[in-house]
Amino acid sequence: MRFATVATGAVNGYLAARLAAAGQEVACLARGAHLEAIRETGLRLVTGDGETVARPAAASDDPAALGPVDVVLFAVKAQDLETVAPLCAPLMGPETVVIPFLNGVEASARLEAMLGAGRVLEGLCQISVFVREPGVIRQTGDFARFRFAERGGARSDRALAIAEAMAVEGVDAGVPEDVTRELWLKFMFLSTFAGITAAARCDAAEIRARPELSALLADCVGEVGRLARAEGADVSEADEAKALDFVRALPDAMRASQANDLEAGRPLEVDWLSGAVARLSATHGLAAPAHRTLHAVLSPFRDGRRG
C-alpha cells in the first residue's frame, strides 16, 4: 500500500517516519529546509524511548512528482485546508482514499466538497508531536492513536485494510465502532481546552483553581455536548462529565497548542474550534455564548500577531 503525507508536518512526519521504518512506501509532500533535510538525511523521530531515522520512498514539494498513491494522509492546520487540498489532486487515482487528521469536526466535509464524494474518510488522531527542527519530529507523549472510518461511521473493507497496513510499531491505528462519536468526544475536549487556555492565557492548574474558569469549563463542555447531539452524534451527558474529569486530571502546566500559538504570534485554529461551536450551534438554533465569547476574544489573532 502506497501512502502520501500532505503535508509532512508534525503529525504526518511522525506517521511517515513510523510507516517508512516499518517498510511501508511513503511519499512526503514538504518544502523548504524541511524538504531538504528529509531528502538528505531522512526523517528523524525523537521519542521518549530514543531516536529512529527513516527514509521515505520519495519526498518533493511537487505532488505531481510523487505520483498517484493508495492513501493520502492529510494533516494541516485547520485554517489551511482549502489552500492545501488541491495539492492532493495529482496524488489521486480512481481508488485513492484521503484520511484527514485535523482538529475540528468539519475537515472531512470540507475535503469531500473539494475532492469528491466517496474519496474522503472521517478521521482523528490523538498524539502530541512537534517539528523540532527541519527533518526532526519530537513526540512528547507516549500515545499515537489514529482512528478512521467512512463518513457516517461505516467500518468499510477499505478502511479496515488501511488500518491493517498502518498498524506498525508506534502507530495505534484502527477503525472504531463509532468514529463520529470519537470525533465529537475529542472535539468536546479540544475546542474547550484550547479556547480557555488561550483566551485566559492559563494552564490546567488555573482552570481548577478559579471557580469562574471551572464554571466556564462546564459551560463550554455542555455547549459542545448539546451541539454533538443536535448533529446526531452519540454523545451523552455522562460523556460531558467524563470530559470534565479528564481536564481536572490533567498535569498542572498543561495547556493547548492554541495557547502556545497565540503566545508565539502564529495563526490560530480558533475559527474551527470555538468558532465552529458557535457557528454550528446557530444552525441548530442553539445558543453557545461561552464558546462564542471565547471565539470573539481570540478572533483578532486568527491570522497571527496583531497590534
Binding site: 485566559a200 488555573e206 474558569l213 455564548p289 461561552a290 462564542r292 476574544v297 478572533s299 497590534g307
Partner: protein
C-alpha cells in the same frame, strides 16, 4: 472660599485633581505611597503640560486621617482599593464633610455613603485620561468630558453645587447633567463593552477589525444595560446604541495606543478592577436573574489575572 481638601490616592486622576485644586488656592493634602509619595514630599506634586512641569507643594502622607478635618474628601484610589481607603479615611467623616467618588464602576458611591452618609456623598463620573509619568509627576491629561458631579439622587444643585463650582474655577470641566446616576451607568456600559478589549489584550482600535470582536463588545454593552434595568438604575438602550455606533466607525490608527485602564493595569502586572467592572455585571446578572453569558465568560478569562499575574513562570 478656600476648601480643605484631602485627596485619598493621588494617582493619575486624584493627583491631577489635587494639583488643580491646590493651584486654585485650596488647602489640599494628598495620600500616596512609595516613590510617588517621596517625590511629592521632596519636590512637590508635578503636572506636566506642554512639555514643562509645574510643581506645587502640599501636605502629603500615607494616612488620610492625619489631614482632617476636611471640607471635601476625594477618593482617587482604584475601585478594588476603596474599602481599605475608606477604613483609613473614616475619621474624616463628619457633618461638614463631603466625599467625592471618582472610581470606575457603579458601586463606589454606595460604598462611600456607607461611611460618609448618603447626604454627604457625591458621585463623580470621571472621563479624563491621565498618567503618572514618573514618581511625583502627572501628565498626558486629556479632559474628555471632565468630571460630572452630582449627589446620590443624581442632582447637581444642593450638595453638589459648591464642589462643581470649585472644580470649574480650578480649570476642571464639570459638565451639566440631568441625572448624574445615568452618567455613571452610561460610563459603566461603555466600560463593559471595553472589557472585550481587555480580554483580547488589544486596543479597541486594533481589535475592532474583527467582526466577532465587535459583536462581543456590543453584546457586553447590552448586558450591562440589561442588569442596570433589572437593578432599577436609570439606563437606556441609547447607552448601548452609542457603543454600537462607535464600533461601526472604522479603526483609527492614530488611536491604536489608547487602552482601557484595566488593560494598562493588566499589562503592567497590577491587580485589576475586574470585580467592579465586567465582574460586577456578571455578579449582578446572577443576583438579578439576568442572563449575562458574555460578561461571565470575559470575567472568567480575566480571573487568573485579578490580583496580578497568576504565577511566576
Amino acid at each position: 472660599m478656600s476648601l480643605r481638601v484631602v485627596v485619598v490616592g493621588a494617582g493619575a486622576i486624584g493627583g491631577w485633581l489635587a494639583f488643580r485644586l491646590a493651584a486654585a488656592g485650596h488647602d489640599v493634602a494628598v495620600t500616596a505611597r512609595g516613590a510617588h509619595l517621596a517625590a511629592i514630599r521632596g519636590e512637590g506634586l508635578g503636572l506636566e503640560e506642554g512639555g514643562s512641569v509645574a510643581r506645587i507643594s502640599l501636605d502629603a502622607g500615607r494616612d488620610p486621617a492625619a489631614f482632617g478635618p476636611a471640607d471635601l474628601v476625594v477618593f482617587g484610589v482604584k475601585a478594588h482599593q476603596l474599602d481599605a481607603a475608606l477604613a483609613e479615611a473614616a475619621p474624616l467623616a463628619g457633618p461638614g464633610t463631603l466625599a467625592l467618588s471618582t472610581q470606575n464602576g457603579v458601586d463606589a458611591p454606595e460604598r462611600i455613603a456607607g461611611v460618609f452618609g448618603e447626604e454627604r456623598t457625591l458621585i463623580g463620573v470621571v472621563r479624563v485620561s491621565a498618567e503618572i509619568l514618573r514618581p511625583g509627576v502627572i501628565g498626558e491629561v486629556v479632559q474628555v468630558k471632565g468630571v460630572t458631579v452630582g449627589d446620590m439622587a443624581g442632582r447637581q444643585d444642593r450638595a453638589a453645587s459648591g464642589v462643581r463650582e470649585a472644580l470649574r474655577a480650578a480649570g476642571v470641566k464639570a459638565p451639566d447633567a440631568e441625572d448624574v446616576r445615568a452618567e455613571l451607568w452610561s460610563k459603566f456600559v461603555l466600560w463593559n463593552a471595553a472589557s472585550a478589549s481587555v480580554a483580547a489584550r488589544l486596543s479597541g482600535n486594533v481589535a475592532k477589525a474583527s467582526p466577532e470582536w465587535r459583536a462581543l463588545s456590543a453584546r457586553l454593552a447590552r448586558e450591562a444595560v440589561a442588569v442596570g434595568r433589572a437593578a432599577g438604575a436609570p439606563v437606556t438602550d441609547a447607552m448601548a446604541e452609542t457603543v454600537e455606533r462607535g464600533l461601526a466607525e472604522p479603526p483609527d490608527p492614530a488611536r491604536a495606543n489608547i487602552r482601557p485602564s484595566m488593560l494598562v493595569d493588566l499589562e503592567a502586572g497590577k491587580p485589576l478592577e475586574l470585580d467592579h467592572l465586567v465582574g460586577a455585571v456578571a455578579r449582578m446578572g446572577a443576583e438579578l436573574g439576568v442572563a449575562v453569558p458574555a460578561s461571565e465568560t470575559v470575567t472568567a478569562v480575566l480571573a487568573p489575572w485579578r490580583d496580578g499575574p497568576p504565577r511566576a513562570g
